[in-house]
Amino acid sequence: MGARLGGALMSEFLAMGGHGLYVWLAYGISFAVLAGLGLRPIVERRRFLANARRTDEGRNP
């Protein structure tokens, strides 16, 4: 009973009054872009460190 009520509430929440596609698409795209913006500096930092270590080894082998 509780689970069925919960499931009904969940599908009502996901449906967003018939606008589910628009709402979830908007949030999905936005958070994907934000995640990409957050990952970029992490990748850049790793790349910089890897490069710098390589150059440093070249300097004093």
């Binding site: 967003m16 018939g18 908007a26 795209i29 936005s30 913006l37 970029r40 270590r53």
Partner: protein, 248 residues
């Protein structure tokens, strides 16, 4: 030199920024993630539906913060542009370089969420009204700054050209802001202003405020992180950077 002048010139030193900015990065990141999570769950799950638009209006909780941030970032680049031209401050030039792609992405979020919101509300993904068109111009201004930096081989000239475009382009920001008042637009005017009571109940605008602060904090964290990397790249040959690489 006064205390402010000393601070101002120190701020321009990339190394000083790098040494100080790590706690800022952590603080902004934690605040941004917490605020955005709270604001989004609140806005999607607990704020009441709109009496005209139903649940589609919930896109507001990302659309308005991202659109506002997209404008604010451009103004910040304009200010940095003045600092570049007047004081030749390296850190300001780095700020423009790091902010342009982030601003472009945030403007992209504002445009895409606007289009998705427009479909059920206006019946069209896109309309060429003054608001949407001026925000599209903002997007291409960000692209233009990135393109200028790439196209000009000498770094100092590229930096100055980008600074000029950053300054000149800020003219577009008041146009975006007042477009809904100056012209007849399909886009609705602001629901929340400093001068009047909000046109929505607190149960709607408080989560909007939370997400607003969340967007600003999170993107501030991304910019600090990007700026730290930019400092490292440009000062890669300096002894202090090599020492830092050795330690990390």
């Amino acid at each position: 030199m006064g205390r402010f002048t000393t601070w101002f010139y120190r701020m321009g030193s990339p190394r000083w920024f790098f040494d100080l900015s790590r706690p800022w990065l952590v603080g902004f990141l934690v605040a941004g993630i917490v605020l955005l999570t709270v604001g989004t769950v609140w806005g999607l799950g607990f704020a009441p539906p709109d009496y005209q638009q139903g649940d589609s209006y919930r896109i507001i909780y990302i659309h308005v913060p991202s659109a506002h941030l997209a404008e604010a970032l451009y103004v910040a680049m304009g200010v940095a542009g003045i600092v570049v031209l007047v004081w030749r401050m390296k850190l300001a030039d780095m700020f423009i370089a790091v902010t342009a792609p982030v601003g472009m992405a945030i403007t992209g979020i504002a445009l895409l969420t606007g289009a998705i919101w427009g479909r059920p509300t206006w019946g069209a993904w896109w309309v060429w009204d003054a608001r949407t068109t001026s925000v599209l111009v903002l997007f291409f201004l960000y692209v233009g700054i990135m393109a200028l930096r790439q196209a000009i081989p000498r770094a100092d000239q590229a930096g100055r050209a980008a600074a000029v475009l950053a300054i000149v382009g800020t003219v577009n920001v008041p146009i975006i802001k007042y477009s809904v008042d100056w012209w007849l637009t399909l886009h609705q005017p602001a629901s929340i202003t400093f001068t009047a009571a909000p046109a929505m109940p607190p149960s709607m605008w408080v989560p909007l405020l939370v997400n607003f602060l969340g967007f600003y904090s999170l993107v501030a964290a991304f910019l600090v992180a990007g700026l730290r990397n930019e400092v490292l790249r440009r000062e890669a040959d300096a002894q202090w950077v090599r020492d830092w690489v050795g330690r990390s």
